[in-house]
Amino acid sequence: DAGVTQSPTHLIKTRGQQVTLRCSPKSGHDTVSWYQQALGQGPQFIFQYYEEEERQRGNFPDRFSGHQFPNYSSELNVNALLLGDSALYLCASSLRESSGGRKYFGPGTRLTVL
């Protein structure tokens, strides 16, 4: 039973560029959430997808966008990268019917913006 997978593991971009991060949820899960974790901080909620729609959004600008595919996998896109976007990006999956339960996190994508 595969857990949550994310790609790539590491990524280096320059300011102003655009980036796409990918996530495959745990088998059987239908809800995907994305979190940003700056160095030395706790994860911050970006947004959550269910049935291919964004259901909730945290306090992040429109430069952050996402998508969920029919197979429940998801992408996080960040446009016009800023130095402050450097962080570990975590994907978490769960079942909508147990939305208040535990989340399963992937290993993360480390994004460095130069």
Partner: protein
């Protein structure tokens, strides 16, 4: 902004000792969860305690919840070097039906042999 605050920010103990960390939060919750993170990698779920529960155990872990004080504590007994990690509390706000988690800044625990 962070929902919770963990205390202490860092903790250094020897193997065999107990480690206690605390979490305070601001809003009403459905549940509170604790996660572990090793060296900036993914988060591993440790335990979930619901708002109507006061104490929960899982192996060497003991979690308490005091909703009147909006606080929780995590106790790790008989610590091992493998327990070295950052520990985060995360709350599921009661105003939310989608299970969005709000994390604290974490407690960094170092267990020396």
């Amino acid at each position: 902004s962070q929902q919770g605050e963990e205390d202490p920010q860092a903790l250094s103990i020897q193997e065999g000792e107990n480690a206690t960390m605390n979490c305070s939060y601001k809003t009403s919750i459905n549940n509170l969860q604790w996660y572990r993170q090793n060296s900036g990698r993914g988060l591993v779920h440790l335990i979930l305690i619901r708002s109507n529960e006061r104490e929960k155990h899982s192996g060497r872990l003991r979690v308490t919840l005091d909703t009147s004080k909006k606080s929780s504590s995590l106790l790790i007994t008989a610590s091992r070097a493998a327990d070295t990690a950052s520990y985060f509390c995360a709350t599921d706000p009661s105003t939310d039906s989608w299970g969005k988690l709000q994390f604290g800044a974490g407690t960094q625990v170092v267990v020396t042999p």
